[in-house]
Every structure is written in C-alpha cells, then in structure tokens.
C-alpha cells in the first residue's frame, strides 16, 4: 500500500554514530562526501570505502537496511557502468566487436565509479539512519545560522522543513483515504490512457489540496496560540553540546581526507 513508503528512515540505536552531535555529523558527512570526489586512485577510494563500511558496521544499522537504501540506485549503477565500459577507451583491449570495444581502462573506470556511488550512498544514508529528521533539521538550522547575516531566514526555512517532514505521513494517509472514498464511488484510477489517468486524479487532488490548506491554517493557528513568533529569541529544550567524541570524529575524518590526498599522490590515477 502507498503508506509503506518510508521517508526519514531513522533507525533507533545507541551506537557512537547515533550519539554524535548532529551538527558534527552533518559537517563530517559533507567532508567525507567531498573526500570521495577527491579520490583518484583505487587506493584512496579503498580507504574511504573502508571507512564507510566500518562506520556502517559500528552504526548497528542492520546490513539488510543498508542494502535496502542501495536498492533504488541499482539502475543508476548498471547504467553508469555500461556507459563507462563502452565509452572509455585505453589500455589492453579485452573484447572488440560491432564497433564496441571493452578495454582495461573502461572496466577500471566502471568499477571505480560504482564503488564511488555506493560509498556515497552508504555515507549519506548513515546520516539519515542515525539521526532523526527533527534533529537533522535542527542541525541544518544551526550549521546554516551564519547565513543570517545575508538576511536569509534560516529558522523559517528549517521550521518549514520540519513541518514538511512531519506532514508527509499524514498526507500519505489522507491520499489513501480520499482514494478509497472516490473508488467507492466507482472512480477508475487504473485504466485508460495517460490523459484519462491524469483526469482521474482530479477527484483525489482537489480534496487533498483543500484539506492541506485547512490543516495549514489550523496549524498556523495552533502555533500562534502557543505564542510562536518565529526564531527571534527562541530557546531550545534540547541543547546541543560538542563532546570529546565529536572532536575525535572530526580529527579522524580529517586524517582520512589527508590520507586520501596522500594516496592520490603516490598511486596511479584511474580517472
């Protein structure tokens, strides 16, 4: 059913990764992603891939769930691999026919790119697996708060994000309900051409819009009643404090980035 879709895939746990300060996690994730793109040789990529795997292992997120986050990118993986194999040429030729040449360099590039994408997905899903959506938006708000000097309303943006995340399951439930109600009146959502199907969505879409606006007004009203006036002078229930482990993690990640740069220097570049 439609509600089985999961967004904000937090996996509750008590690992070090869960306990890291969300702000630090956000910054470190960003640092590691940049590092992935610095990699040039298999050795430097190997280092960062190993880091990702070890991090996944200590995160206490089951391997099955990690694999689940890789499922949506399988098509992209296959696609880039095929393109790389076909279009990159150089080195020993393994196979040549119908104007297609499979070369050593092509295969290497394909493998390199695949590892790179998988590492990227593992690292970024680790962030969402070990941080609740609210903590994450909270962290984004604070990390971005220096942007205030450019008159960007960071708090408002973060609040919007939190609310959007909060209402996704509600909206999915609502869609489910409206769909059932219209189906009960004989609405046919499954057959017909593309235009007919688009038309069939009108009876779903309009009630959804109407109730979303109603919800938005009610929410705004409720927030006003509780004296919400925006970010100005707002304190927090959950204070974030950087601990020793956060600085250790920072040092570790910086070391990995340095390692990647050094390895790049000593080994042959693949791309």
């Amino acid at each position: 059913m439609i509600r089985d879709i999961t967004i904000g895939q937090y996996y509750p746990g008590k690992s070090v990764l869960h306990r890291l300060d969300p702000r630090m996690k956000l910054i470190l994730t960003f640092l590691l992603i940049v590092t992935i793109f610095l990699c040039k040789s298999f050795f430097s990529l190997g280092l960062i891939a190993l880091t990702a795997v070890i991090a996944a292992a200590i995160s206490s997120v089951p391997a099955k769930m990690m694999l689940k986050s890789l499922k949506p990118i399988v098509i992209i993986l296959v696609f880039t691999a095929v393109l790389n194999i076909i279009y990159t040429e150089g080195g020993t030729v393994y196979f040549e026919k119908w104007g297609i040449a499979i070369t050593e360099k092509g295969v290497n590039t394909a493998i390199f790119t695949m590892i790179r994408i998988v590492t990227l997905v593992i690292i970024s899903s680790l962030l969402t697996y070990t941080t609740t959506p609210t903590m994450l938006t909270d962290a984004i708000e604070r990390v971005l708060s220096p942007l205030k000097i450019f008159k960007i309303k960071v708090h408002t943006l973060a609040m919007m994000m939190t609310l959007a995340l909060r209402f996704i399951p509600t909206l999915i439930e609502e869609i489910d309900r409206i769909m059932n109600a219209q189906k009960a009146r004989g609405a046919d959502l499954e057959s017909g051409g593309i235009i007919q199907r688009a038309k069939a969505l009108v009876p779903i879409f309009i009630p959804l819009m109407v109730s979303s606006f109603r919800r938005a007004y009610e929410l705004a009203f409720a927030m006003t009643c509780r004296c919400y006036t925006g970010g100005e002078g707002r304190t927090r229930m959950k204070q974030m404090k950087l601990a020793f482990r956060d600085f250790s993690a920072l040092v570790l990640c910086l070391a990995i980035t340095a390692g990647v740069v050094v390895l790049n220097h000593f080994f042959e570049a693949v791309i």
């Binding site: 059932n180 109600a181 219209q182 189906k183 004989g186 009630p207 109730s211």
Partner: protein, 288 residues
C-alpha cells in the same frame, strides 16, 4: 435466496510480512440478509472499518471470501467493479471527498462512473438530493461554500445517488451535534423504509444503533464477539463493558431504577421508549 453480503473466513492483515503485521480482522464469518438494517459496534481499532472496506472490494482479503448476492466479488475484474456499485460505502467524514465545481456535479460523480444516461443521472441526483435534504438552490453552488452539516448531506447524497443495493455508513454521525445526529438517524431509517435496501451502520453511539438497527454485530479484537437483536445484545451489559463498550444510557437509567425497586422493564433502549414508560408510570402514581 442468497445473502446480501456474506463473508467466509475473512482475514486481513496490515503491514503484512513486517514485524508490525497485525490481523485487523481474523476469520470473520457473517451473513447479512437482504433488506436488513445492521448495526456494527466495537471499540476503536476493533476492525470495523477494515471489515466494511472488504464489502465493496476496496481491500482484498488475505484469506477467505466476500460474497455479494452469492457471488465472490474477487471472481474477476468486472464483478469487482460491479460490486462497487452494488455496495455503496460512505466513509467517516465523507465531506472530505467533495471535489466538483458544483454540488450537483459531485452528487453525479458516482452515477456518471456507472455510465448511466444523462436523464437517468439527473433523476438520481435530484432524488438523492431531496432525500438527504440538500436544498435545490445549493445544487449549483460550490460544495466548499456549504456549511459543515450541508456538506455532509451532499456527500451522503453522492453515495446514495448510485442507488446501491447495500448502503454502508462508517460512523455517519461523527462530529455532528445532537440535532444533526438525530436528523441523520431519521434519514437512514427513512432511506431503508422507502427503498427497502440493505443498510449497514457502523457507530460508536449505542443510542443511535439501538434506535435503528434490526440486528447488531459486535466486533472485538478483530473478530465478531456477539451478534443478535438489539434486545439480545444490550441485555449482556457486562460483556459489552468488558469490551470497552456500553449499553445505551437510558438502559442504564432503567437498570438503576429497577435496582431501587421501581417496577420498570429492563429492555428499554431508546429515550422515546423510556419517556413513554416513565410518563405512564407517573400518571399511574398521580392517579393513586
């Protein structure tokens, strides 16, 4: 003669195959006769909505069967489609399904999907509107301009206009004031009287159910815990209370009167009934 609706070992799970798998209805066997007005009661989460969503094929059974008029509705695609028109389902808060530009068009949505002729559609829309008390001058208004109660009536008309053989209401009075509740109960009773169709009403309110049902089905923890006439079900107050339900308030009052040694009957389920009995009792006393 076949039953209007029959379920055979009907079972449905939510979140199947995950750790949260729950049987929302478990091995339910029910028969609903043609022309009956059946009330379904049960605590929140007992599986009432899940059960009735099977009657028109919105949910597919994980095991077991649903027979409408003796035919398995999952036999083929056409039968399933027809079951949607044979069994009309009016959800809780039906006003949230309104979408058309005008009330008229919205009520016509169901009949249109049935591919009826323009004349037939018009006839049905007007009939349903009159029945539910949607005012003629509202038909060309936007449904979003109506008041809450009027919206509810328009939405109910949208299901009634399909003129289904079985009409099901899920908590039809939810969120209405006492006056609205009473009007709606009258409306459902009248509908049954005039059309002779089978009607199923899911409700939280024992009073509403007592006032209209021929038979009551009690759901508890995904199964049918009890069924029988209003008398039979409400005479088992103890069992009902164990399931988080109750008997109508007036029945309790009469039970307390009896406990004080006042000679009144135990099987009083509606305020009207109660009023009559109390009046004759008072008159009897003042005559002495």
């Amino acid at each position: 003669m076949s039953f209007a609706i029959e379920t055979v070992n009907l079972t449905h799970y939510y979140s199947k195959g995950t750790v949260q798998q729950v049987a929302a209805i478990d091995n339910v066997n029910l028969q609903i006769e043609k022309g009956e007005l059946v009330g379904i009661i049960g605590h929140t989460g007992s599986g009432k909505s899940t059960l009735i969503s099977h009657f028109n094929g919105l949910l597919k059974p994980d095991s077991g069967k649903v027979l409408v008029d003796g035919v398995d509705i999952w036999k083929d695609k056409e039968t399933l489609k027809q079951s949607r028109f044979k069994v009309g389902l009016c959800f809780q808060y039906p006003e949230y399904q309104l979408f058309e530009e005008t009330v008229y068009k919205d009520i016509a949505f169901g009949p249109k999907n049935m591919k009826l002729s323009e004349a037939e559609i018009k006839e049905r829309v007007l009939r349903a509107a009159e029945f539910t008390g949607v005012k003629a001058e509202h038909l060309n208004k936007s449904p979003f301009d109506l008041s809450g109660g009027e919206k509810r009536r328009a939405a109910i008309a949208g299901v009634m206009s399909m003129e289904p053989e079985v009409l099901i209401f899920d908590e039809p009075a939810a969120g209405l004031d006492p006056r609205g509740r009473k009007d709606l109960t009258e409306l459902i009773k009248n509908y049954r009287k005039q059309t002779g169709s089978t009607v199923i009403v899911v409700s939280h309110s024992m009073e509403d159910i007592a006032g209209m049902a021929d038979r009551i089905i009690v759901m508890n923890n995904a199964s049918v815990a009890m069924q029988g006439s209003v008398d039979e079900v409400f005479s088992k107050g103890g069992e009902l209370r164990e399931m988080g339900l109750n008997v109508p308030e007036i029945t309790e009052i009469f039970a307390k009167l009896r406990a004080r040694g006042i000679d009144v009957p135990a099987n009083v389920y509606t305020v009207e009934q109660g009023e009559k009995i109390l009046r004759s009792l008072i008159e009897g006393r003042s005559a002495k």
